[in-house]
Symmetry: C2
Subunit: 213 residues, 2 copies
């Protein structure tokens, strides 16, 4: 399977898109489209900044410049930097969709929901937390948020021994699914396979962990 | 499980270390430590640059500045920018260790080898390819390299239908394992669990894909 043509393929845009519309953006939390010009640009710029820079280095001024708006507009709409972080880095809407299924069906539900969320969001709802590991600085807030909103929440749903351990491994499988779908687009086998078939293959390993390992 | 103390914990250093010593560095390819002062610094700086910037934006001058050496020293030791890229972004040593096992044992071997490689390298041998998805630019060379050296190679080893599809999903599980181990360090359950137990839990899902799904 050739990858030589990737530089001119939609894969480039896909890699970018995974940073833009994410859980917490319109399709997930019901945020309305409309007259709030600049709001989406602010959210995108803020999400990108909080993913790729240490929290302490993120400035409202920098986000404003990237979004093409004034810093005062951001403060007016979102409040403090902390409030803005809490708005744009929020895994809870995705976690709610992912984890709402009976435990005996959860493996398959997770795979199908992850693929559906990625389609709707034009990006991965969780993968940004892995991007945040790639730079030599602390990204502690982003990681702590993931642990609280994804791993801890899943651990609380699982029954049986080692629930926390199994939740961490399930979180890994979800991150890995998103990673491989993004890496192998657009001409990869996963990108060209129906969601139901991907679930047939990938869900049993997740369900094994959900059931108790 | 508290994450509040993470900013002063080794997790911070871990997030950084995942970018530094990697497959292709000393512990894997037999590169010798010794009188070549600056060589490791150049490799680290180059690996970081090629992971976090588009290939076209990486300059020998920038790598030299980050490594604290002269650009001419890099050219003397590594040759052209392309040659340097080929030296520092090389998943083959890790892939060789990961994929050298009989197929019926491959799932468990992959988990144990991944954990062992991460320990020896003080970082993950594959995860950088996911970091490369996090920035809005093409990272086509890095991704193409991963697909050739990891996914294609594994696909060639698997037997049965949909080998390429299953290889992509196994690659995802490996990336997910590394991601969750890094994200949940140092106080996470995975970080505090023996490798054999992690293999008991995580390997069956991989082996399911190796066996044919």
């Amino acid at each position: 399977m050739s990858t030589a043509d990737e530089s001119t393929s939609p894969a480039t845009a896909d890699a970018g898109r995974t940073v833009r519309p994410q859980a917490g953006a319109s399709p997930v939390d019901g945020e309305e489209e409309g007259p709030e010009t600049g709001r989406d640009a602010i959210i995108r710029a803020a999400r990108r900044a909080f993913t790729l820079k240490p929290y302490a280095e993120v400035t409202m001024r920098g986000i404003a410049a990237a979004a093409g708006v004034s810093p005062s507009l951001i403060v007016k709409r979102f409040g403090t930097k902390e409030a803005l972080f809490n708005t744009v880095v929020d895994f809870r809407p995705a976690a709610t969709e992912l984890f709402t299924a009976p435990l005996p069906d959860l493996g398959r539900h997770l795979v199908l929901t992850m693929i559906d969320l990625r389609d709707r969001l034009h990006g991965d709802p969780l993968l940004r937390v892995v991007f945040s590991l790639g730079i030599e600085d602390e990204r502690t807030l982003l990681r702590a948020r993931f642990r609280e909103q994804v791993t801890d929440r899943l651990a609380g749903l699982l029954t049986g021994p080692d629930a926390r351990l199994r939740a961490e491994l399930v979180a890994g499988q979800l991150l890995g699914l998103g990673a491989t779908l993004s890496l192998h687009r657009p001409d990869g086998a996963t990108a060209q396979t129906r969601a139901e078939r991907l679930a047939d293959l990938y869900a049993p390993g997740i369900q094994h962990l959900v059931d108790g390992g």
